[in-house]
Symmetry: C2
Subunit: 305 residues, 2 copies
């Protein structure tokens, strides 16, 4: 394939990497160059695009990219190459990102949302190698998912497959921004667990972060522990339901919340196993590529299709 | 392909059909011969198999089948050709049905469970023609599902995909035979709704059937109506969750409970639409092939793969 430039528009982080597929074997790729910068809190799509362009050119160091693969942290359409919007950065509405980057780098470009691309990365280079049917779930600021079905990325009828975060697991649960009660993201994502902890402690609006919940739970705080366990339970029901529906061989979990300790993992696994029928076989494993899963997926996006 | 013999082991009903693909166009197949018999209430696998063999031979009328496609009403494995068991008829445990029928009819045989086969039938000849990604759901004695993904039957890692009936939609709901609380089948299937109505009327164990619930609801009985609406709600949440996860283009509903009237359909559609994210596009339509969906699917099983 040649030199692939991989770009990850991660909302708060912009990351680029370059691999030379002519030098490395495809099952043993390493970054020839790799760099991450943080975008400003009051950022704008145009600034992010300019920053990423400079980053890409810096890493290419005068060479020409054969292809450019892109992960976008928000609704982005693989088939049209359009970014629908970003939940973190203004100015992205209906941006033809694929077309723009093709103009800038004079090479074929493919884009997709971060969950789909991370699923592809883990499947090709990480914890899902050799697994024909898998569900990747990122449990972080939000809860998103991506599918590999029959050894191919699966995006659904209009590119919306993988929204496990907005499946309902408790119709009597708290209300999510999406308008529904008790969806997985409302119960299991970092910011929502932090907000629930702040509320429970009688200090709503205070600066409690997602990882504080896990830390306080580890220190033995019972309120924090209950919130963390409820999140793990919700995710477990969501995974068990997905297993009953699709029977993937493997479910891969990535994102900051998965660093919440063994108690969290046990609760997720136990609940998923109890929710799925006994005959439904699957396992649940941690992501192998950590923060670089979308970037590796962006490489795979250009390799495989 | 020639003459295809299709067999549907439906638990209480045994149906066979013969089509000649050399005579008819593949998009316009009709039965050359078709017959349904009812198996005795105290039946046995050996009796069913003998009855079906006689039925097949009668319909073939001395001709030789080029291939035999089989729908089995219970856990059956497409890849191994084994029937795991029947929930309705004793003696089916670990029966090598594919192998047996290949011996009897001296032709290649494929078997699969009824939900997968009905999905294939509706996709090939019914309400799912031209739809690459669809979920077929039968809402009847149980609630089962089958997938077409990317224009192919999808069975999952160990053949268990499609178990939407045992996804949880209300963790505080009543207990199902599967051991979980508030799964779709516990709330939406005919026998469970009938049992709930008998309980609510203070006559547990009485002979109330699934269709009685819909009839009493139509006559204005508020208890029956509430039970029917709760079933439709549960199915709607299950469908909405499946839409968020997989974003199929179409969901096709078949089975006796789908004859419960427009109020039931409205509640299912409305709940599914509210459960899915607004961007997730899909529609919900009635099955077109009615009781013959598995039989047509058995034809398609031999045609397509």
């Amino acid at each position: 394939m040649g030199i692939i430039l991989a770009l990850d528009f991660g909302g708060t982080k912009l990351t680029a990497g370059v691999v030379d597929t002519a030098v490395h074997h495809t099952h043993d790729l390493t970054w020839q160059a790799h760099k991450r910068v943080y975008s400003p809190a009051d950022g704008h799509a145009q600034v992010d695009l300019a920053t990423m362009t400079a980053l890409g050119r810096e890493l290419l160091a005068g060479e020409r990219a054969t292809a450019v693969g892109v992960s976008f942290g928000g609704p982005a359409d693989y088939h049209t190459g359009l970014v629908r919007l970003s939940h973190h950065v203004v100015g992205w509405e209906e941006t033809p990102l694929q077309q723009r980057l093709e103009g800038i780098f004079a090479a074929p470009v493919r884009i997709d949302n971060d969950a789909n691309v991370a699923a592809l990365g883990e499947w090709r280079f990480g914890a899902g190698q050799g697994v024909a049917d898998l569900l990747y779930i990122t449990v972080s600021t939000g809860v998103g998912g991506g599918w590999i079905v029959g050894g191919r990325p699966y995006r659904g009828h209009n590119g919306m497959a993988g929204e496990i975060g907005h499946t309902i697991v408790d119709p009597a649960g708290p209300i999510c921004l999406c308008g529904k009660q008790g969806c997985v993201e409302r119960l299991a994502s970092g910011p929502y667990m932090a907000a629930d902890l702040a509320d429970a402690l009688g200090m709503p609006g205070h600066e409690i972060a997602g990882h504080d919940v896990a830390e306080m739970a580890a220190w033995g705080d019972e309120v924090a522990l209950a919130i963390l366990q409820r999140g793990a339970w919700a995710l477990g029901v969501g995974i068990g339901n997905a297993a009953n529906l699709m029977n993937p061989q493997r479910v891969i979990l990535g994102g900051g919340v998965t660093k919440s300790g063994t108690g969290w993992w046990e609760k997720v696994r136990q609940t998923a196993r109890q929710t799925a029928l006994p005959q439904v076989q699957f396992d649940i494993v941690p992501a192998a590529l950590a923060d670089d899963a979308p970037l590796w997926g962006a490489v795979a996006l250009m390799e495989t299709e």
